[in-house]
């Protein structure tokens, strides 16, 4: 018994300098299909830190883990509106700028967008950003409506037009804040409005096209769009690009197109943050700084078809990506993009209720 005790004491003495140095481990929780194939292995090779890489496919799942606490993760990647509330809940630590020399590479414009959710950019760094727009199957739309206004939200929000596509399948994200802000924007209202009357108008708008909507889901539309099981989706830019690529791979005659509608669309950012109870905060800083290397993040953008928030990387990215106005929109389109904030809990409740009513068609 004494021996065991002595051993334990000895180990704890050894552990103290090790703690100061941190064991060479890093636990990352990121979206699925959201990193280049060699990013992690390169980081491990460069730093000698062993990375445990887990993935999720919804902010809700991430949030539930974060709110429960003691997740064990060192770096997580929430979307801006979720990040905002999570910062309010006190989940994330403030970043140590001294350990992030590559901050200088970041695009000030996109970091300002993020500042709506994270004032002063103290808690998070933009990883990728994109828009919430429309994806459609060109052939299916043309067959049903040759003169379809495919650059406009009319496709989804005008019942007279949407009904043409009901038989081939319209889908929406199961994300109330994103869909409702798009609806508010389409109605010419403030997409960030928390006014109950505005919410009612947006609800009525979505309900007016509700009969033509096949389902509300935040990931299933990727494969369905690629397979031609559906033809029109309100979805995230990157997801629709994935669907595009899959359709090309499958050579099934489906041509998926992504547009940022002319009325304007929501811009969102996925951001790297460090939980307060992260076991390896130093390694986490190292990783975030590593991602901010222009070459590293450029490779990721090439792979995942998302714009990143790193200005210095833009010249290094494949021109096919940077040249695509759907990924890197021109300035006039950019002017119409808007970011969303998290809502007050009271409004959140109203929003969820309205959303459930919409989904169930009641």
């Amino acid at each position: 018994m004494k021996q065991v005790l002595a051993l334990a004491v000895g180990m704890s003495i050894l552990a103290i300098p090790a703690l100061a140095q941190e064991e060479p481990v890093l636990n990352i929780y990121n979206w699925s299909d959201y990193i280049a194939e060699d990013t992690i292995s390169n980081f491990e090779a460069q730093t000698g830190i062993k990375v445990n890489y887990d993935v999720f496919d919804g902010n809700e799942v991430l949030e539930a883990k974060m709110l429960t606490g003691s997740s064990g993760y060192d770096v997580v990647v929430p979307t801006n509106n979720f990040l905002e509330r999570q910062i309010q809940a006190g989940i994330y630590m403030e970043l140590d700028a001294s350990k992030l020399p590559n901050l200088k590479n970041m695009d000030p414009a996109i970091m300002t967008t993020l500042a709506i959710s994270d004032p002063g950019n103290t808690h998070a760094i933009v990883y990728m950003w994109g828009t919430t727009g429309m994806g459609y199957s060109a052939k299916a739309i043309a067959e049903r409506m040759p003169d379809a206004p495919s650059d406009s939200w009319d496709m989804i929000f005008d019942p007279e037009i949407a009904k043409n596509f009901a038989d081939c399948g319209i889908t929406m994200l199961d994300a109330p804040a994103e869909v409702m802000s798009a609806a508010l924007n389409y109605l010419g209202l403030d997409p960030l409005s928390e006014d109950e009357g505005d919410l009612q108008k947006a609800t009525d708008l979505v309900l007016s096209v509700r009969p033509y909507i096949r389902y509300f889901h935040s990931s299933q539309y990727i494969s369905d769009l690629a397979n031609g099981d559906i033809c029109l989706s309100l979805g995230w830019s990157g997801d629709i690009f994935i669907a595009q690529a899959r359709a090309v791979e499958a050579a099934n005659g489906v041509e998926v197109v992504y547009v940022i509608p002319k009325e304007g669309a929501q811009v969102w950012t996925d951001n790297m943050a460090i939980p307060k109870d992260a076991p390896h905060p130093d390694n986490a800083h190292k990783f975030i700084n590593y991602i901010m290397e222009p070459e590293v993040v450029a490779a990721i953008s090439d792979y995942v078809f998302y714009a990143n928030g790193n200005a210095a990387s833009t010249p290094l990215i494949d021109p096919a990506v940077t040249g695509d106005p759907a990924i890197y929109p021109p300035d006039d389109v950019k002017a119409k993009l808007f970011a969303i904030k998290s809502h007050s809990p009271a409004y959140d409740r109203l929003l969820t209720r309205a959303w459930t009513r919409i989904k169930t068609g009641q």
């Binding site: 539930a64 709110l67 429960t68 606490g69 809940a89 006190g90 109330p176 096949r214 009641q362």
Partner: protein, 318 residues
Amino acid sequence: MTLMDSLAADSRPWAFLRRLLAKAGLSGRGLVIAAPMLWLLVFFLVPFLVVTKIALSELVIASPPYAPMIEWTKGGELIVKLNFGNFQFLFSEPLYLNAYLGSIKFAAISTLIALLIAYPMAYLIARSGERTRNVLLMLVILPFWTSFLLRVYAWIGFLKGNGVVNNVLMSVGIIHDPIVMLQTDFAVYLGIVYTYLPFMILPLYANLVKLEDDLLEASADLGARPFMTFLTITLPLSLPGIIAGSMLVFIPAVGEFVIPALLGGPDTLMIGRILWDEFFSNRDWPVASSVAIIMVVALVFPIMIMRSAQDRMEEKAK
């Protein structure tokens, strides 16, 4: 007990343990009863109390996202806050009532369909020869060897617009445009019935296999045609099996989330999805917990009623 016996007893390793437990007032029988009680306590009662606690808390933006129920103030006061607002809210919103009713409707209809399909199957298995019976039972249980999720995904492959069923029907020329089967109530019923069918078949089989041929022959002998024999003998005697199987299907079906989420349409209103939305989308843990508590309470009553009906039935059969 002679000295030798007690020495022999002492040499057994468990004798010491038994004496120790006896000193603590625990007999072997006590332990046998205590084990399942402990199980229920740890895996049912404690989680239930935790959920109840959350249901009675207030929503806050924090981690965890609800206010503590018990607080020590600096002045040394103990403050216990019980917030019944969440329950009030559930009763004030027709949505929740509709969701409960929707769940019960889905579960009840699925249970009925499962019963109608399972009964002849269980009957056939119970009436077949021993070897055939074992093979058939194996076939019933076989799907459990693959993941439940995988099997539900397989149904997606069958039912979707360009899935197996539509492709076959179209290639044969029965239909020209694909039928929308996925994301409909039909798909949910199909999924629930398919998934829970074994839970209906097995208790029915266990009951029907005990049904003695003599009773059926006696009924025929006394002038009852086969259908009358079924109505007056087989059916009433298999009621305990029907009740057991129905409970095993109905109860999990009420709280089912995965099947309506994957196969159902957006208007498939079931309490499991509402719960998911409250917890994940709305991050309103207190309301989500209240939904769960009411579901448990709402389910406990039918279970109790069915159990007592079953007990009466067994009493009768004696």
